[in-house]
Amino acid sequence: MSMGMVWAILGAALSTALAGIGSAWGVGIAGQAAAGVVSEDPDQFAKVLLLQLLPGTQGIYGLLVTFITLSRIGILGGTQITDTHTGMMYFFACLPIAIVGLISAYHQGKTSVASIGLVAKKPDQFGKAMLFPAMVETYAILSLLVSILAVTNI
């Protein structure tokens, strides 16, 4: 296997791993808050579940970029990379969703916790409460677009 393949697979692995770590962390803390609310007010289950799920999207974005990368470098399809230069291009193309996915999921989890607290006190404010963590999602989507555009145009 060429060094180029090593770099490309490393990039693909990082996009799933880092974004997944961030999502696991975010969904985990939001889940603790959701459990706290449901233990006192089970009627809020659906609302807090949605808020808990929001930080989970980064992991899916990371997985998507990994699949696209693997399907272009000869693992799930496409042609094998023979030079280091192209492999490094794939590696750097994967980094936006890997890094931004990790950090945004972490912060989205914290925002979801705060929003779950808001829903706990004022269930009728659920719409507004959803918007706060959804704002964080913007940056995960931007990094996903950059990664997809970069990977598909190498």
Binding site: V113, G117, K121
Partner: protein, 323 residues
């Protein structure tokens, strides 16, 4: 954001905060014609034991028990709540010393406590087993006991124990890793010092008494407070106005009940920022204190109604709520 280990507990507390009495609820209760109507209002709000008929004391005791159970269920550091119960603990010590030294039984003077309730305190005092008490109480307990035995002066005994309590609270608050606790204990000591100074001034106590009674505190220069209170009310008010306690001075001028209300309101102000703190021990401590304040306010209203106080007189005595 604070410590993530409190996320579950804080979320539960946020739901519970919905059921706290608001200023509007308290105002509504103050305007009710009698204690029975107030009790019915509280029963509708879920107070007491699932709508079962009960006395006012039983209802308030049930609410205290609910709060105690909730903080136990949260599986968080319970030592924090031990610290908040120092005033009750030291109160039991005073009651125990007086009962032993005067041989007059007074069961109602004690707060119920699993570790240091009436029986335990009396046993410790009878055996002079000071080591059975928490370390911060030992020296004051022995000194107050000996003083009471020799002089039979209940007030001297109270001063020793009360000051020890304030010092223990101040030290424990300073050592605490929870900021809300540090702020609360500091405010409690400051407010209590002002309360002691105001009462001492009214009853004409001298400087020596004040120096002995006032506990050191970061928010106050207790030496100057003692001097001001030993002179006259004007000096005390001037000191308070010039040192960030203008509202206390105004409340003192208004009436004793307005001043008592200011004392409690000041403490609620200290914990109020915790309403927007998403994850730390702060909101849990604040909820616990808010519940205590709520129960105290309801007790005041029920007592006022039972004694036929006017609506205006009742309103003057009610405290600000946390929510």
């Amino acid at each position: 954001m604070g410590d993530n280990s409190y996320i579950y507990a804080v979320a539960r507390i946020r739901v519970k905060e919905k059921y706290l009495l608001s200023d509007a609820d308290v105002s509504q209760m103050a305007g009710m014609p009698d204690a029975k109507t107030v009790m019915a209002f509280l029963t509708d709000r879920g107070w007491g034991d699932a709508g079962a008929a009960m006395t006012a004391d039983a209802m308030l005791a049930a609410e205290e028990e609910k709060t105690r159970k909730l903080v136990q269920e949260l599986r968080i550091d319970q030592s924090v709540f031990d610290l908040l119960s120092y005033p009750q603990l030291y109160h039991n010590l005073k009651a125990g010393i007086k009962e032993i030294c005067t041989s007059e039984e007074n069961k109602k003077a004690f707060y119920p406590d699993e570790r240091f309730g009436r029986e335990q305190i009396l046993k410790i005092l009878e055996e002079k087993n000071w080591k059975a008490l928490p370390e911060h109480m030992r020296e004051a307990a022995e000194r107050a006991y000996e003083t009471m035995l020799k002089t039979r002066d209940g007030q001297k005994c109270d001063i020793i124990v009360d000051r020890a309590c304030l010092e223990a609270m101040e030290q424990a608050g300073r050592k605490s890793k929870h900021r809300v606790l540090r702020d609360y204990e500091e405010s409690t000591v400051a407010v209590t010092d002002i309360k002691i100074a105001a009462r001492a001034q009214k009853t004409g106590k001298n400087l020596a008494f004040l120096k002995e009674a006032l506990a050191p505190c970061e928010q106050l220069d207790v030496r100057r407070l003692a001097i001001a209170a030993s002179e006259n009310q004007e000096s005390l008010l001037t000191y308070l106005e010039g040192h960030g306690f203008r509202e206390a001075a105004e409340a003192l001028k208004e009436s004793p009940s307005a001043f008592e209300r200011w004392c409690d309101n000041r403490l609620i102000e200290t914990i109020r920022p915790q309403k927007t703190n998403p994850a730390s021990m702060g909101p849990i401590i604040a909820y616990y204190l808010a519940r205590q304040n709520e129960i105290k306010t309801v007790r005041i209203i029920l007592t006022a109604k039972a004694n036929g106080f006017s609506e205006e007189a009742t309103r003057e005595r009610v405290r600000e709520m946390y929510v």
